[in-house]
């Protein structure tokens, strides 16, 4: 093999690297001080007379936590609703994120070993393959850049109060996140096995099926489960804008100053998240 003499000098000397990090440090400090000023942060506000009184009332109101049988029994419905919203929202997110994630995976569409021979000297073909890739990436980024809270707000206006807007909001914004991460996971699978499968005459979708997906499965499942946990928490927040579940109960009790109910609701939410955490850890362990 013949190498041309390499002429390129390393782009940074040690000295200019050090200067860069000093500049970055100063920029960070300036940004921090500016934000402090603009956001009008007064940590002591919590401890001024007015703040102290409110805090005391809030804390005193929490105890004892609400535990009357009829209140606890009434929790079943919102608890179930929260689980349903998170499950349906995550399922919808997978339905949206998986196909878009595949389209948005460069090693499946146009980059790397699977396309070397196919796209050599065929710029029009390459462009044709890149178009769906770019579109999918664009859609995914719009979906995830708008927070689920904002989506929920819009859907509550569109379809009314209840769990449906919560499901739609989680499905769309989490679909965007799942799709992005799915494509990154698939992108990071080694190309060796894919190359060997392709050499048997397999199309790229068969390479995906026999090589990339089985290899990436544990990571794909782990991330999806993590998102499901996030969806449970998110569904509580979404309740605040009227999207059902425990969140809506918390918001109602807050508004009535029934802080003892709030604390019970928060504890129930905490138990729910902990239970799901344990459940998904087991599922992950079974799949390594």
């Amino acid at each position: 093999m013949r190498k041309p003499p390499s002429a390129a000098a390393p782009p940074f000397s040690d000295r200019s690297k050090a200067r860069t990090s000093t500049l970055l440090g100063l920029a960070f400090l300036a940004a921090f001080l500016g934000s402090w000023h603009l956001a009008q942060i007064h940590p002591l506000a919590l401890f001024e007379a007015e703040g102290r009184r409110n805090m005391a009332r809030f804390l005193a109101g929490m105890f004892p936590p609400a535990h009357s049988p009829e209140f606890l029994l009434g929790l079943w419905r919102p608890l179930l609703e929260t689980i349903q919203i998170s499950v349906m929202g995550t399922v919808l997110a997978i339905v949206i994120g998986f196909p878009l994630g595949l389209l948005g995976t460069a090693s499946l569409s146009h980059r790397g070993t699977l396309h070397d021979a196919e796209l050599a000297g065929a710029p029009a073909r390459r462009l044709g393959r890149m178009l769906p890739y770019v579109l999918a990436r664009g859609v995914l980024s719009v979906f995830r850049c708008i927070p689920e809270f904002v989506w929920a707000f819009m859907f509550v206006r569109a379809v009314g109060l209840g769990p449906v807007p919560g499901v739609l909001a989680i499905g769309i914004s989490y679909g965007g996140m799942l799709g992005k991460v799915y494509s990154e996971i698939l992108e990071n699978q080694g190309q060796q096995a894919s190359e060997a499968l392709q050499a048997t005459g397999a199309s790229r979708w068969k390479v995906l099926l026999y090589g990339m997906l089985p290899q990436a499965l544990p990571q794909l499942v782990a991330y999806t489960l993590y998102r499901w946990e996030c969806a449970v928490r998110a569904s509580a927040v979404l309740g605040f804008v009227g999207a059902g579940g425990l969140g809506q109960q918390i918001e109602l009790s807050m508004r009535m100053f029934n802080f003892n109910e709030v604390i019970t609701l928060v504890l129930v939410l905490l138990l729910l998240v902990a239970a799901m955490d344990a459940f998904s850890a087991r599922l992950r362990a079974a799949l390594v």
Partner: protein
């Protein structure tokens, strides 16, 4: 089977990996390629199995030029060529049976592939079992591939080629990751498999010993070019010395004062005199 005319592969960085190679390989022929690491042997193999496109020249398989093939026609030609790699290039999390059946992917429809992955048919199981029996590990049919040793995985990779049933078998340093006693067994296995069915066998070997002991035709490859191409009896020690001259990392130049020592310092083992 293969006809190469001035076949050249230049990578993006200007690296000339394969440089105007002319080579003809007959159907059913068995041939070893030897040469120092970095000579471009693996690149040559990736050209031959249609993984990467050539930069210039003509590459024909069975009389048909394949340089500009795309899509289904490209895949059809890939199906005719089975490859065994240095690293086995299996899918570690799949069971052995699916890695073996992957040899059929070129022939199967997508739905057929899905079906076999979910639940292999009796026919599939029988075929995979037969292939694994020929390489001596039928009991590993349902094992997970990453639980197998390096030598066993290489046998699985060979079984995959058996299921593919190609006209040509390319083996790119198939024994460099297994221990020496197993190396002989695997080379012999590949010779047998190609011999009984009249397949063309092209093997890239790190070990000069194995090449000279088993193959009727030996090609020396250096700096992306064919240095010599002859029968093992005609391969002299002088030829081998100049083939490997300067390839040891401690002697980076060709004017190495002790080329022979450089040869002994690097991996190939000389045949006993």
């Amino acid at each position: 089977m293969y006809q190469l005319e001035k076949v050249t592969k230049q990578f993006d960085r200007g690296l000339m990996a394969v440089d105007r190679v002319d080579l003809g390989i007959r159907r059913g022929e068995r041939l070893a390629v030897i040469g120092p690491s970095g000579a471009g042997k693996t690149t040559l193999f990736r050209l031959l199995n249609l993984t990467i496109p050539l930069t210039s020249g003509r590459l024909s398989i069975a009389g048909q030029e394949v340089g500009a093939l795309r899509g289904a026609r490209l895949r059809e030609h890939r199906r005719r060529i089975g490859t065994v790699y240095q690293q086995q290039n299996l899918v570690p999390r799949l069971r052995v049976i699916h890695n073996v059946l992957a040899g059929r992917l070129g022939a199967w429809s997508f739905l057929r592939a899905v079906r076999s992955l979910i639940r292999p048919t009796r026919e599939d199981i029988r075929a995979a079992h037969a292939a694994l029996s020929r390489v001596g590990i039928p009991e590993k049919l349902w094992a997970r591939t990453d639980e197998l040793s390096g030598g066993q995985q290489q046998r699985v990779a060979i079984s995959r080629v058996l299921l593919q049933n190609p006209e040509v078998i390319l083996a790119d340093e198939p024994v460099s990751s297994v221990d020496p006693s197993l190396a002989h067994a695997i080379v012999r296995l590949l010779m047998d498999l190609s011999g009984t069915s009249g397949k063309t066998l092209i093997m890239n070997l790190h070990s000069v010993d194995l090449a000279l002991a088993y193959f009727p035709r030996v090609v020396g490859f250096r700096d992306g070019r064919v240095a010599f191409d002859r029968s093992p009896a005609q391969v002299s020690d002088d030829l081998l010395v100049s083939l490997y001259a300067g390839s040891s990392p401690s002697h980076p130049t060709e004017e190495s004062p002790d080329a022979e020592a450089a040869v002994r310092g690097c991996a190939p083992v000389f045949r006993p005199q």
